[in-house]
């Protein structure tokens, strides 16, 4: 048996109850292996998902569903390095995913 994380989809339901991702530019901080990213990305216009752990980002890229490849970009970078490279008011939604 493989590890099953939140098979009940409680986290996704709680997230989608709070925010409408339709057409949104999203930044996800602490995306890990993309577990949560895949669950909302279909609604978004573009998702930039970052995590400082290389092994996690490699897994995230490997498991990225084909249908999401044009809108999800995974980057192995810490937020403190990512933030200064970006202009103000770039994102509609920023998700801190178990990351603070």
């Amino acid at each position: 048996m493989q590890i099953r994380e939140d098979p009940e989809n409680n986290e996704t339901r709680a997230l989608l109850n709070l925010v409408d991702f339709s057409g949104a530019d999203v930044l996800e901080i602490g995306c890990g292996d993309g577990r949560l990213t895949y669950r909302y990305a279909e609604e978004a216009a573009k998702v930039t998902a970052i995590d400082p752990f290389e092994a996690s980002i490699i897994r995230a890229k490997q498991n990225l569903p084909v249908k999401l490849r044009d809108r999800v970009e995974f980057q192995c970078i810490a937020f403190e390095d990512f933030a200064p490279q970006n202009r103000p008011a770039m994102f509609d939604t920023v998700i801190l995913s178990w990351a603070l």
Partner: protein, 147 residues
């Protein structure tokens, strides 16, 4: 942490949202399930509660400074299932790779004892039993305030 939140405020569009998802401190359990029934449950202390309190404090600080407004908060159960204690422990170690809190001997032996108990219940239950790590998550929708 406060600086990271200030940077998030800068990167957000004025009509945007920060969505913060983090564990509810002092709520985590190891459970043994069999065909949907809970056979056993035991609290599982973690070392990162202090980080959770600091994170909540940082958000409160920025709300107080008028940079953010917490619009809505919700909670949910988050369960991670595995077929063995070893599998679950390996997964938790991967998830907690960020946690540099030193573990003292007493804590390590407490943890070993806890996992032995779980292992015994799992073994006794036999086929169809699985172990789960049960956390409670908190999700908040937070609006940047632009004056």
């Amino acid at each position: 942490m406060v600086h990271a939140l200030e940077e998030i405020w800068r990167l957000l569009k004025p009509q945007g949202w920060l969505i913060d998802i983090h564990p509810v401190a002092e709520f985590s359990h190891i459970k043994v399930f069999q065909r949907g029934t809970v056979l056993f449950t035991i609290p599982k202390p973690e070392t990162y509660w202090e980080d959770v309190f600091q994170a909540e404090g940082a958000i409160a600080q920025l709300v107080e400074r008028g940079l953010f407004l917490v619009e809505r908060v919700d909670e949910f159960d988050y369960l991670t299932y595995a077929s063995s204690v070893g599998e679950l422990r390996a997964h938790r170690e991967l998830i907690n790779a960020f946690d540099n809190t030193p573990k003292d001997e007493a804590r390590l032996s407490q943890e070993e004892e806890l996992y032995s108990q779980v292992e015994a219940v799992l073994h006794e239950a036999g086929e169809g039993a699985e172990v789960a790590f049960h956390e409670r998550g908190r999700v908040a929708r937070i609006k940047p305030v632009v004056s």
